[in-house]
């Protein structure tokens, strides 16, 4: 047996020696939730980084949708096998911050001698991902909803373009249906609580929850069942029950109903540009989100995701992470990412660079989201949302609002119930995280 073991040990030593010479570069894992075309863009940006230097290697791994990535991260963290970087959507902000599992981006970058200047990032991104001016996560893919429309359909119905306010847009949608231009004047997006409720309240400057939508503490409560949002849900219900607005339902994705030419409009993330450009075979364009007549519209709020750094790794790995973040924040990288995906550039420098090269003259719809995010001064109602257990609350809100669509309960009652259920979750979150921010 002895010679065998000897040979084995020898081979092992050789293997180790080989590995240590080949692995001069520090390798870090990056779990993300981007699939399809966007997943390919992630691979490209990672390859750009890997090719740009020799010391670090980033391995990008797609782990399903945002929920699945978060679930996988939690399981991995509990098993002490967490990756270095995970992409997590804006909704999970408080979950991540209070998890005790992350290293804040500002802290990490300062330690690595690459301090972050938050003033370089665009305001709606900073207000979402920073606490007291310190970035908690590295902004990666930021988006905001805009209105995509089928120009052929609008022309056929006798309109130039969609009206800027709901009061102008609604009769147009009715006319498109009445004139038989299309059977589906608008399709309801799957994430409508983001585009139709949260962004509606930001743009129209009405409060969604107390304490500046949760920015000022965990003792926040929802108050969207009073005021203009009730009217918005009434409007949605009217559009759905008159058949002007259609629900895509399971089995297909709402944006497909727009790109196939079946539906005339959709309010969707600016990141949908990738899908629309690839699939729409008609004359299309986009516009800013509609708002209420008589209101000076505020900025919309972002969606999308950021990159979180997890605890429990060696100093070399953190050095690699910092280098990767630095690369991502570079103006060149940001401009490329913005143009390749449709997401907004997260720094003002990148926006200016894209503008300077004349990109928006050729692609005017790409600028809508940026302009909409940066217009005016953010008010308490348009800073963003800091809601604990936001995923869980969303499920409840969407369930109640769709009960109103179905005519199961009156709109006011549905919203009261949604607020009640949401507040119950908020109180539980407060109970568990008492003393944290």
């Amino acid at each position: 047996m002895r010679p065998f073991y000897g040979a084995f040990a020898g081979a092992g030593a050789l293997l180790l020696a080989g590995l240590s010479s080949a692995q001069a570069a520090t390798e870090i894992e990056f779990w993300h939730a981007m699939s399809g075309a966007l997943g390919e863009r992630v691979d490209e940006v990672v390859k750009k980084f890997n090719d740009s230097q020799k010391d670090y290697v980033v391995k990008a791994i797609a782990k399903g949708n945002y929920d699945e990535v978060l679930n996988g991260t939690i399981a991995a963290y509990r098993a002490k096998r967490q990756p270095e970087i995970v992409q997590s959507n804006e909704r999970s902000f408080l979950t991540m911050v209070n998890s005790g599992a992350i290293v804040s981006t500002s802290e990490l970058m300062a330690q690595q001698g690459r301090p972050v200047d938050v003033s370089k990032f665009i305001a709606p991104v900073v207000s979402y991902f920073a606490i007291d001016g310190k970035l908690q996560a590295m902004p990666f893919n930021s988006s905001t909803p805009i209105l995509f429309y089928n120009r052929d359909h609008f022309k056929a119905a006798g309109f130039d373009k969609p009206g800027a306010t709901w009061q102008e847009l609604e009769p147009q949608l009715d006319a498109i249906k009445a004139k038989g231009v299309s059977k589906c004047a608008m399709v309801l997006p799957g994430d409508y609580e983001w585009s139709f409720l949260e962004n509606y309240s930001a743009v129209n400057d009405i409060p969604y929850a107390t304490k500046r939508n949760g920015m000022d503490g965990l003792d926040t409560s929802f108050i969207f069942n009073k005021g203009k949002l009730v009217g918005q849900v009434e409007r949605m219900k009217r559009l759905v029950s008159s058949g002007v607005m259609q629900l895509a339902g399971q089995g297909i994705i709402p944006i497909q109903l727009f790109t196939s030419g079946e539906c005339s409009t959709i309010i969707a993330s600016t990141a949908s540009h990738a899908a629309v450009v690839a699939a729409a075979k008609f004359d299309w364009s986009a516009a800013e989100l509609p708002y209420e007549q008589g209101v000076t519209p505020k900025n919309s709020v972002i969606g999308g995701a950021a990159l979180w750094t997890l605890k429990g790794h060696t100093p070399e790995k953190y050095k690699a992470i910092a280098a990767f973040y630095d690369f991502l924040a570079k103006t060149d990288t940001q401009v490329w990412w913005h143009q390749a995906t449709g997401y907004v550039p997260v720094t003002t420098a990148a926006y200016d660079a894209a503008k300077a090269e004349g990109y928006y003259q050729k692609n005017p719809t790409r600028e809508i989201a940026v302009v909409q995010l940066m217009r005016g001064t953010p008010s308490d109602n348009s800073l963003g949302f800091r809601i604990g257990n936001s995923n869980q609350i969303n499920v409840a809100i969407m369930e109640e609002v769709s009960a109103a669509f179905l005519g199961k309960k009156p709109v006011q009652q549905a919203l009261d119930d949604a607020v009640g259920r949401g507040n119950e979750v908020l109180r539980r979150y407060e109970q568990l995280n008492a003393g944290k921010k």
Binding site: D67, L70, N71, I74, Y77, R78, T95, N98, S99, G100, A101, C184, V240, Q246, L247, A248, G249, Q250, G251, I252, L257, E262, N389, N391, Q392, V395, A396, E399, E400, S402, A403, F405, L406, K408, R421, E424, V425, R428, Q431, L432, N433
Partner: protein, 333 residues
């Protein structure tokens, strides 16, 4: 063939030739007098070791995948915890109180009741019909049976997505057909349509399972009795209802239990793919809520409490079935 037991120091057992075992098994399995008997009763194991090792792999798997998770669920049901496990608070019965106060939970329970019963009735009656029919087909019986078994090999999520697509009111061919017939089909806006969709998806997946058991049961009905009934002038349907059906009640009973378990515990993937519990919670059955609250929205405490309730429900249901329904089952023929 002589038993190769020369290494054993034990006296050679006159086991009648039927049961010739080598040393370790012989010693463990045979009774003290060295006589082997047919049938394995507890008395046959002189020693605890053989039965232990025979059961060990299964017990280990049960421990790993059933008992440990169950106990953890039980503990978690009394906790409020951060998904990452950073903070954990003991909250006593708070999770359960919240559950039973919640109107959403009760409506989910109601939906589950309708769903499991509808699914059970549909699955069993269709499988019975198909088993009866394919038993009476002479040509290509094997082909029919194979085709009928195919859906069982399809993953629940794929079955769900397929049905969701076929019945999608905007693009689904079946939905268009229904609408063409003047039926205003829309599972996105009608709770009953959505519910019937998941009943269809769940049943379609499970008919084959029921079917294979029923075919086997029907095959075991003694031909002589059926033939004498035939000679007495009973038609095929009469023979089926009066002779075959009563004789397969043990199988039917078994399938009812299995179907309830299936409907209660194994259908969350189908619901997730077909309707995502919507519209407005109309198809959010209890097990889907466990999945959604636990894995999608990360409310681990509530999800654990719900799974404990489901576990208790399953125990109660199985007990009730064996206590009351089994009395009507005829085992002796």
């Amino acid at each position: 063939m002589p038993a190769r037991n020369s290494t054993a120091a034990l006296p050679v057992a006159a086991g009648g030739g039927a049961l010739r075992l080598r040393w370790p098994f012989r010693r463990l399995l045979l009774k003290g007098d060295g006589q082997a008997e047919s049938g394995l009763k507890r008395a046959h194991f002189r020693d605890w070791r053989l039965p232990f090792w025979l059961l060990a792999p299964q017990l280990f798997i049960l421990l790993l995948f059933f008992f440990i998770p169950s106990i953890r669920a039980l503990i978690q049901a009394f906790q409020l915890t951060d998904p990452f496990g950073a903070t954990t608070q003991w909250v006593g019965f708070q999770n359960f109180e919240r559950l039973f106060r919640s109107g959403v939970y009760w409506s989910s329970a109601q939906v589950t009741l309708i769903f499991t019963i509808a699914q059970n009735v549909l699955t069993l009656s269709l499988a019975l019909l198909l088993a009866f029919a394919s038993n009476h087909i002479l040509r290509g019986r094997g082909v029919y049976r194979t085709v009928l078994l195919l859906p069982y090999a399809i993953a629940p999520a794929i079955a769900g997505i397929m049905l969701a697509f076929l019945f999608n009111p905007r693009v689904g061919p079946v939905a268009h057909m229904l609408q063409g017939l003047g039926f205003d089909w829309d599972p996105n806006r009608n709770s009953w349509h959505a519910l019937s969709l998941i009943v269809m998806a769940a049943s379609w997946k499970h008919i084959c399972y029921n079917y294979i058991f029923l075919v086997a049961a029907l095959l075991s009905v003694p031909q002589s009795i059926l033939e004498s009934a035939y000679l007495d002038g009973a038609g095929p349907i009469q023979r089926f209802l009066r002779i075959s059906l009563p004789m397969i009640t043990p199988t039917l009973f078994f399938l009812i239990v299995i179907n309830f378990v299936y409907g209660l515990f194994e259908t969350f993937a189908i619901v997730d793919a077909t309707t995502r519990g919507g519209p407005a919670g109309a198809t959010s059955i209890l097990v889907y809520k466990v999945y959604q609250d636990g894995f999608v929205t990360l409310d681990l405490g509530s999800s654990a409490a719900q799974s404990v309730v489901l576990m208790a429900l399953a125990l109660a249901l199985t007990f009730a079935q064996f206590r009351f329904v089994e009395r009507r089952v005829n085992y002796s023929v």
